[in-house]
Amino acid sequence: MTAQILAQIVVYATVLSLVYILMSLGLTLVFSIMRMINFAHGELYMLGGLSVYYIYGRLGLNYWVGILGAVVIMFFFGLLLERTIFRPLRHDMLAACLASLGVGMMLQTGALLFFGEEEKAVPPVVTGTFQLGNVSISNERLLIVLVSVAITLALILFIKKSKTGRVLQAVAQNPEAASLQGINVTRMTAVGFGIACALAATAGGIIAPLVYVSPYMGVEPVLKAFIVVIMGGLGSLVGAVIAGFVLGFVEQFSLTMFGFVGHIFGFIIIMVLLLFRPRGFLGKDFKVH
């Protein structure tokens, strides 16, 4: 393996890892607060991409207005979903997971009916490539790197430092105790779910110009996001960051070395990890509220 190939693998593995992390943030947040695996996460990601496609690609508004629009729309959509579907099921984790599967199917079918099945291109936000030594990387990917790092850091800071973030942590750690402290657990759960939906939409909107948008665009990424979340430890944001890097680097190395069969290495790692450390890298025991 030459130094150039190695450099290429490292650069693109970093980009891939950050994409995985970006996609798994919302999923992690939902689990930490609601103890629920949101199977509709891929479809929320897809709706974020579609929102950006229509606001930026079709209406011609600024790209960041498109992202903001997707965030706002999906935040309120998340509140609606939480109130109508997930709140009544909050004491039954299995039922809530199954309901999220149904929501995902409905959203995908709805997108097919309203937006059509064909792949839609989102115009590039930035063009050109950046030369990093011998490695050529598109400015679009660099933008994703910057935005992913910014969003991940902002979310971790928000959760750790802000008042709302600390309240969300309290709800995640022990809702009964949080309630006894005067926290409106129901409202904060709804807010947490809304933020998670907005994060999914942000990921979809950020990645959309790099790929294309279609009703099926969330199917493959959400699988990788599940691996990251489970590997990192359900509900752990920092764990998701570590797992994102592990999966991204393992995949990029194995795919470059062994071709498409390299995909199995990600699954092998998660199986081995779960055998020896079932909670993932930074996961904790949890009880279903």
């Binding site: 792949e119 790929v211 390299g262």
Partner: protein
């Protein structure tokens, strides 16, 4: 005597009434004027990943049917027949195709079938259509064994096994500097078929196949694959068997990561599908076998076909021409058989001499490879994407006997 006379009179009257009735039945103008309907079933993807191809197929078949019905349909043994096509959506899946074909055969009672276009879908429905002795004209791109031991299945699409040798010979003659390649395709029957056909052809022409890469349909990140490709730096990327969405992302990422070589696709890539995703500047110069209305190589009948299609549907679908002739072939077979009996129609199609299509002269062949003459051979276009348009440069003739297969997709 009187009784005998009366008996003769009754016999005469009965004979007269019978004769009159017979003449009325035989020469009644009402009977000759009432055309009957021949039902044709069409199973193609109208939704999902293959919808662009399926909708083009549906439109092309309707266009051909309307033209035929306007010309009076067909007359079989003195009876006029008009055609009606029942379209079913198989979603490009085997299981859905089985549902569609069962409905068409057993509920709608269709007499002939056109489609499906997916290899998996065809393989799934063949046990039903062959058992029912249903003449089925398919349009699959891959699947070398899809015609073997099949009595009622005909393929109107020329697969890469047959056209790749002529297509890549054209590439070699016009671009002799292209000597090494890496083939990239979807990891399924269609992708393997294209990989084998293309690589066999290139190998036989003395080009060096450096490797074959596969990806899962729906993949969006090809950076690892491109890193592998860049390390070998082939003269061209051969992308037959890569669907448009994935092909567009692959081209975009390969160009961004610094790949400067040529891109060749032995299938059809519609520029309007490719350009917005891959970037228009990245798709310039791609050589492929799609066809549009422009270019010196477009046959006259094809140009007229594009005019008719655009007049009816208001757009151009590059896949539709591949399907348009299927209806006409079926009609020619019915006319030649002068019957609706499927076995007689099958025999008539098999015995058709060289005939005209919108692509030029066509004929049935393939006995040496498939054991029957159920494979259509017609000219294949060589086109290039130039100024965002597909320009047909030339038509090449496919080869009936392909070079020996090296089974590239099974190589480790």
């Amino acid at each position: 005597m009187r009784g005998k006379m009366r008996g003769r009179g009754i016999c005469f009257s009965v004979a007269f009434v019978f004769l009159a009735g017979l003449m009325f039945v035989l020469f009644s103008p009402a009977q000759a004027a009432e055309p009957k309907t021949i039902l044709i079933g069409d199973s193609n993807p109208l939704t999902g990943g293959g919808a662009y191809w399926g909708i083009g197929s549906k439109n092309a078949l309707d266009l051909a049917m309307d033209k035929c019905n306007k010309a009076g349909g067909v007359t079989i043994k003195g009876q006029q027949y008009l055609f009606k096509i029942i379209h079913e959506d198989d979603k490009y899946k085997g299981s859905e195709a089985v549902k569609a074909i069962n409905k068409l055969i057993f509920t709608d009672k269709v007499q002939f079938i056109v489609g499906p276009l997916g290899t998996a879908a065809v393989k799934a429905v063949q046990p039903i259509t062959e058992a029912q002795k249903m003449v089925m004209i398919i349009d699959t791109y891959a699947g070398p064994d899809i015609l073997r031991n099949m009595n009622y299945t005909f393929r109107a699409m020329v697969p890469p096994t047959h056209f790749a040798p002529s297509f890549f010979k054209w590439v070699k003659d016009k671009h002799p500097q292209l000597k090494t390649l890496i083939h990239i395709a979807a990891n399924d029957a269609t992708g393997w078929g294209a990989t084998n056909g293309d690589n066999d052809a290139c190998h036989a022409l003395g080009m060096k196949v450096l490797g074959s890469e596969f990806f899962e349909r729906g993949s969006t990140d090809f950076t690892a694959m491109v890193t592998r490709i860049l390390s070998q730096n082939p003269d061209f990327l051969s992308m037959g068997g890569s669907p448009p969405g994935e092909a567009a992302l692959l081209i975009k990422q390969a160009r961004e990561m610094g790949y400067k070589g040529r891109i060749i696709h032995s299938g059809m890539l519609e520029p309007s599908q490719l350009g917005p995703i891959a970037g228009w500047e990245n798709i310039e110069g791609i050589i492929q076998t799609g066809i549009g209305p422009e270019g010196p190589g477009v046959p006259k009948a094809m140009k007229q076909y594009f005019i008719d299609y655009e007049a009816k549907y208001g757009n151009v679908n590059s896949f539709a021409p591949y399907i348009y002739d299927m209806f006409d072939i079926l009609v020619m077979g019915i006319k030649k058989a002068n019957s609706l009996d499927s076995t007689k129609v099958r025999d008539a199609i098999e015995q058709m001499d060289e005939f005209d299509t919108i692509w030029g002269k066509a004929r049935w062949g393939g006995k040496e490879l498939y054991g029957n003459n159920h494979q259509l051979f017609r000219p294949t276009p060589v086109s290039i994407i130039k100024d965002k348009k597909l320009i047909c440069l030339e038509m090449v003739t496919p080869q009936e006997v392909p070079p020996p297969s090296q089974e590239w997709h099974n190589r480790k």
